[in-house]
Symmetry: C2
Subunit: 401 residues, 2 copies
């Protein structure tokens, strides 16, 4: 009935949280559920319950939830006006319990873990995922291992440490650490829910389903998603695939994955029309949250994009912070640089005339600017100086423009 599938080898394996990759070709496995009739339960409040038929869960344990999901989809009319653009929406995944889209995946993974009697979880991360996994592990009351790269940002360590996980700072190659975590997990009964964990990817589907219903069951023409390991966009494409399969939609959106130029191995491969992503040696980008030089989901993502229709592009580094500021100044939404790549990518395609005037576009905003590093919080804002007595004159002097 249900299985983990390797789309490359066209082979099914038993569902097993300790198997993220195909033992034959080492590509990530995807969960496939029973092929029964499925519907959405709109009378439910919790998004995982609304989407239950489409997820690898029998029920939702509310004691494990932190209230993830039901994030706003908001129209960006000021950006539209400013750049003379068609209907533009932001799906704001930063309004999640730990301020990033990772909570979608972690929420699903933790539901699954507890239902299977798993007692230890883990993750390999230097950012959003570390925080999210530590938080949900604490909520579930299970031992949580967070393996971080040596030299990780102090701010992230603090925000992860507050949940009191087992944090291990590991010296050595990060890609190697990522791969080894799985065998270590297996040996020690720790379910490593890393970036391309099949259950985590199932959680990301929920974002796409929500967006579809928030648009009154219309398919966006374009959907822009920041790409690092690939897991997030894989989940979103998979959701639209299932919507099509079950007759809810007839066509796909044009999926646009955006990487930061300083670390864009998947975009390079896509542009070169190659099939297999090559690891890059040096990643240097302001968009730390999507800085993965050796993305484990790269090949499967390229395959899915080619089948469903879409693009993987890269956002020039010098435009990322500018887009981040624009979104804050024009719409009051403060995001991480990683998320700002979607606006950069969109503006580039619009400028090239690739987006029709009647299009409906969705940008998926993945992480909050509030937890970004100081360097990325530099604003153009000037701070005027006043005393109580000269304040009236200073206020008067501000032009209304």
């Amino acid at each position: 009935m249900e299985a983990f599938e390797c789309v490359f080898c066209q082979k099914n394996y038993p569902v097993d949280p300790f198997h993220t990759f195909c033992p034959k070709c080492q590509e990530p496995l995807l969960y496939i559920g029973p092929q029964t009739d499925k519907k959405f339960h709109h009378n439910k409040d919790h998004p995982l319950e609304v989407m239950l038929d489409f997820l690898p869960l029998d029920h939702v344990n509310h004691d494990l939830s932190l209230g993830e999901g039901n994030t706003p989809l908001i129209r960006l009319k000021n950006v539209e006006k400013n750049f003379r653009l068609p209907a533009l929406y932001a799906k704001n995944e930063t309004i999640n319990p730990t301020l990033s889209f990772k909570d979608r995946g972690t929420a699903l993974a933790i539901q699954k873990a507890i239902s299977l009697g798993i007692e230890k979880i883990g993750t390999v991360s230097t950012g959003n995922m570390a925080i999210s996994t530590a938080a949900y592990g604490a909520r579930a009351g299970i031992k949580t291992f967070v393996l971080v790269k040596d030299g990780a940002h102090r701010e992230i360590l603090n925000s992860t440490g507050i949940y009191n996980p087992v944090m291990i700072n590991v010296k050595g190659d990060y890609g190697e650490l990522f791969r080894r975590s799985f065998s270590l997990g297996k040996k020690n009964n720790i379910y490593f829910t890393n970036s391309v964990d099949p259950f985590r990817i199932e959680g990301y589907k929920v974002t796409a389903f929500e967006t579809f219903f928030q648009l009154d069951q219309r398919v966006p023409d374009f959907i822009f998603v920041p790409v690092s390991s690939g897991g997030h966009l894989i989940g979103i494409i998979k959701a639209f695939h299932e919507l099509k399969q079950h007759g809810f939609i007839k066509k796909y959106p044009h999926f646009v994955g955006v990487q930061a130029e300083g670390c864009s191995p998947i975009a390079r491969t896509f542009q070169a029309k190659k099939l297999s992503v090559e690891r890059i040696e040096k990643a240097e980008t302001i968009a730390k949250a999507i800085s993965n030089p050796d993305p484990p989901g790269g090949n499967i993502l390229l395959r899915m994009i080619r089948r469903a229709g879409g693009t993987i592009m890269s956002a020039p580094e010098d435009k990322i912070l500018e887009a981040q500021r624009k979104l804050a100044e024009l719409e009051g939404i403060f995001i991480q640089p990683a998320s700002a790549t979607t606006l950069v990518g969109f503006l580039e395609l619009a400028e090239k005339g690739k987006i029709g005037p009647k299009s409906r576009i969705v940008l998926i905003l993945t992480g909050s600017g509030m937890k970004a590093s100081k360097k990325t919080k530099k604003s153009d804002a000037q701070v005027l100086q006043a005393s109580l007595s000269d304040l009236p004159d200073i206020i008067k002097s501000v032009k209304s423009d």
Copy 2:
């Protein structure tokens, strides 16, 4: 039909965003709406639309919204177990667009401002409110003035500045600045939506309404709210008052306002059974977000608490960070110290036997720990050190306890 009311002078004034205080007694005014039949519109998605009959709005302009509200109410079973407590819930207001409850009030104020044709807004704040007002001002595309106290935290200035408001750093007494902002606003057509703005308070009501419906229309026995200027708790009490007035409930919750001991002018006044709050000279608390030595809503809050039933208490400074950590470690929720005072207050009342074993308790969590200062992010978490080769042994050595 509608008016701004002074509950002390029992006098009504015209509704006017440029009038926050009674011209006679200088106490904050409260909005009163037309006394028609009111109902909730549960078929709507946006909380302001669900509650529209109870709010000073004719309609909701979605272009001004950042998707505030619909925050989770989650059961804290681990805290319950750990401390042997009755049913405990957290209303997590940190999952709002700018990570604090202020967005509830700002969202309402900005709707009202734009519907009245106001072109400039402002606020006086050193923290959450500055960020929230700057964000909503940007979203509305209007000039936004943020007056900050000299010496405000750099982190807050950055997170506010990103939205590009007019920021003015004002030297001099903060209480004086607060009061003067209103006359300056009037002169310069800037609507100052400060902490006890009647429209802001109307926005806080929505949190109480949501909680009531999330509890399947049951009234919590106790509701704990951090108290600074008083505006937030005033709004919450007002909401339950209106629920009673319109026949939705028969009794009030026991309202518990919690201040941090190092700045607890309202709690002191309450405990001393006095009516009029005296400004304290020196505020020294770890809970910066509720550090107001001269709370403008103090007297009206005391009056409302005495009428509806409740307490204003203070949380010992040395227990605040401990409670903050406990909530993170046990439930995966990371809050500002200001919010942690609710858990401290609750545990104290529980210990004193003041909370029955069958009670239903709600803690209102007001601000995210992610934007708190570094000092308050110190966790107990130990970071283990490993290389790739000794990682297996280190993982194995971690006890399962």
